[in-house]
């Protein structure tokens, strides 16, 4: 049943291939290969000439110009690849330079995007040849064979001609088969082209990394500011208000005690002292929670101990497994701790899970933290502020967070951090 359907789908795909847009776009792309590769080749020759001529200085502006032109060529190739080959490549950052001729020369000569386009021009030559050859072979050969009944009697083709009508029809059928296979073949022959466009015509990895780090830094700064604000608010609304209330109670006690000879004042003073006593204990407890939120004392004894404390405090039962032959950097320990705390809090708050597990391992310079639960799933980094905060904190140290949480669960969240910064 399944195989039958698979076959039907395959046949359907083969037959409808010629009427699909992709087939024709890729055919046009492949047929343009000689043109684009040719332009690239001419450009490469210019680059080489410029390099050769740098000895008498004329070559330097020429080289700068060629590198700059490579950018244009890259843009054209990227556009073609997008429109015809279906490869979406992010445009690299625009050419940036200071004022003045020298600045412009320097910027062009050191333009990573331009040089990457030059390399693309060189490396794509064989890829273009292969793609064109396959395309020409499949489409050209297919068409030629298909038309066999038209030419087989011509004396010019005597050496390839079949020996009679049945043979000619057979060749024609083979041509048809070749034509049906052509879209598939061309698509695969274009694979190297697509890969090259993706790797060499996009933003240069260094710049992309800088952008990523800038984003991580912005998030980290925001995160730090938000956390300070939260601490300030907790102190203001919590501890400070509690202490003021305490002072107020004691102030009233003081006044009442001045009239201690009156039993009702003494009685009220006693009640106020009770309330003040309770208030002081509450303030101490809240302050302790707040302090633990800043830096958990358990972390001083190592990540295992701190995580064990966390696991023990979790309302959902947590199975903890740690394998840390090497102690991570303090900042990494702190980030792992707060990630675990946040994730376990999420488990307790949102997942409805009956069980959770925390796995922490160190190896190959990486710390891997996996928090699993058997709850309802549906967690994502772009929904909750909590997970976004975690992404910010892990991103700060080049770490990653991966959330797998299909609706219906289970949820598996993997955080990877470098062991040392």
């Amino acid at each position: 049943m399944t195989t039958a359907r698979t076959w039907r789908e395959l046949v359907h795909a083969l037959i409808t291939a010629p009427v699909r847009g992709r087939t024709w776009r890729e055919l046009v792309y492949a047929l343009m290969m000689p043109l684009m590769a040719g332009i690239g080749l001419v450009h490469l020759v210019l680059v080489l000439l410029s390099v050769a001529m740098t000895v008498n200085l004329v070559g330097i502006p020429m080289l700068a110009l060629s590198v700059f032109a490579a950018r244009g060529l890259g843009t054209a190739n990227r556009g073609l690849a997008r429109v015809l080959a279906g490869v979406r490549v992010t445009a690299p950052a625009p050419f940036r330079t200071g004022p003045g001729l020298l600045n412009r020369l320097g910027a062009a000569l050191g333009d990573v995007t331009g040089w990457r386009a030059v390399i693309h021009g060189l490396v794509r030559l064989p890829a273009a040849v292969v793609a064109f050859a396959v395309t020409a072979g499949l489409w050209g050969g297919g068409l030629l064979l298909l038309c066999c009944p038209l030419w087989w009697r011509s004396p010019a083709f005597a050496h390839l001609s079949p020996s009679g009508w049945p043979g000619a029809v057979l060749m024609s059928a083979a041509g048809l088969a070749l034509l049906l296979l052509a879209p598939w073949g061309v698509h695969h022959a274009l694979a190297p082209e697509r890969t090259l466009a993706r790797t060499l015509l996009g933003p240069d990895p260094g710049a992309a990394r800088i952008r990523r780090l800038e984003q991580a830094r912005a998030m980290a700064v925001d995160d730090a500011a938000a956390r300070l604000r939260q601490v300030e608010r907790d102190l203001h609304d919590g501890t400070a208000a509690q202490l003021v209330t305490l002072a107020l109670n004691l102030g009233m006690v003081q006044e009442d005690l001045e009239h201690a000879h009156r039993p009702e004042r003494l009685e009220r003073a006693r009640a106020l002292v009770d309330s003040a006593h309770r208030g002081a204990k509450e303030a101490v407890a809240e302050l302790r929670d707040l302090i633990r939120g800043l830096h958990p004392p358990a972390l001083d004894k190592g990540l295992e101990t701190a995580l064990a404390t966390l696991a023990a405090r979790s309302p959902v039962p947590v199975r903890l497994e740690t394998d840390l032959p090497e102690r991570p950097a303090p900042a990494i320990e702190a980030i792992s701790y707060f990630c675990t705390a946040e994730l376990l809090a999420n488990v307790a708050k949102h997942s409805g899970a009956g069980h959770a597990s925390v796995d922490v391992r160190a190896g190959d310079g990486l710390l891997t933290l996996i928090v699993r639960d058997d709850g309802v799933g549906g967690a994502a980094t772009n929904t909750g502020t909590g997970l976004r905060g975690l992404a910010a904190r892990t991103g700060m140290v080049d770490g990653t967070i991966d959330v797998r949480s299909p609706a219906g669960g289970p949820t598996v969240i993997t955080v990877e951090l470098p062991l040392h910064i």
Binding site: R233, H236, D237, A240, A241, Q242, L243, V244, T245, A247, L248, N249, L250, G251, M252, Q254, E255, R268, G279
Partner: protein
């Protein structure tokens, strides 16, 4: 005396409520945010509103803004702004439209029950009460201002106490001066700040404002 309390920390609100009630004041409403405060003042027309600066939803200066509006819309209602820290800008905003029946105190002043109640009475009677801490900060900041720089240390002290809303008599007692010598200092302050005698009624208030606006 009829009082409205606006304070978002429930514990402290209840504490204030108990304190004032037990000392024979009538608390007509105790609320937790700016809008409720405006509504309560409009409804009850109290003698005084005790207002926490930071309240929901903004948790910034919600209470202060409400206090300023109350002073504008209900001139007969005294306002005591009650804050965990001193912000001279807040004091200046609060006093921008005059200093009649207004006060700005740190929350911890509530611990000295008698002083706190006296402050409430004075504000309800139309006087000005500024926290000593507010005055200290203003003095610190105003040292840079030229006219204020011409005051002698003694005159500064006297002005600071004026800003706290004390009478000449109280200042004389606190600074161990004769009443006459306090009067002389006050006149000297008015002269140096350029406050002419015709404004006599408000000169104390104006002298304080001069500080705040500097």
């Amino acid at each position: 005396m009829r009082i409205v309390i606006a304070e978002d920390a429930v514990m402290l609100r209840d504490g204030l409520h108990m304190l004032l009630t037990s000392r024979g004041r009538q608390v007509v409403a105790a609320v937790g945010d700016g809008d409720a405060l405006r509504a309560a003042v409009a409804e009850h027309h109290p003698d005084i509103a005790v207002v926490d600066v930071r309240m929901p939803p903004s948790h910034t200066d919600e209470g202060l803004r409400a206090a300023i509006e109350i002073r504008r819309d209900h001139p007969g209602v005294g306002v005591l702004v009650f804050s965990q820290y001193v912000e001279t800008r807040y004091a200046a905003q609060l006093l921008a439209d005059g200093a009649h029946g207004v006060g700005y105190l740190l929350k911890e002043r509530v611990a000295d029950v008698r002083d706190f109640l006296t402050a409430l009475d004075r504000i309800a009677a139309g006087e000005t009460v500024l926290d000593p801490e507010v005055v200290t900060q203003i003095m610190g900041a105003s040292r840079r201002i030229e006219t204020l720089g011409t005051l002698t240390p003694r005159e500064r002290e006297v002005l600071a106490m004026m800003a706290e809303g004390r009478s000449n008599n109280a200042i004389a007692n606190a600074l161990f001066l004769s009443y006459g010598s306090v009067e002389k200092n006050v006149t000297q302050i008015f002269t140096k700040l350029g406050l002419s005698p015709s404004e006599n009624d408000h000169r104390r208030v104006l002298a304080v404002l001069r500080y705040l606006q500097a």
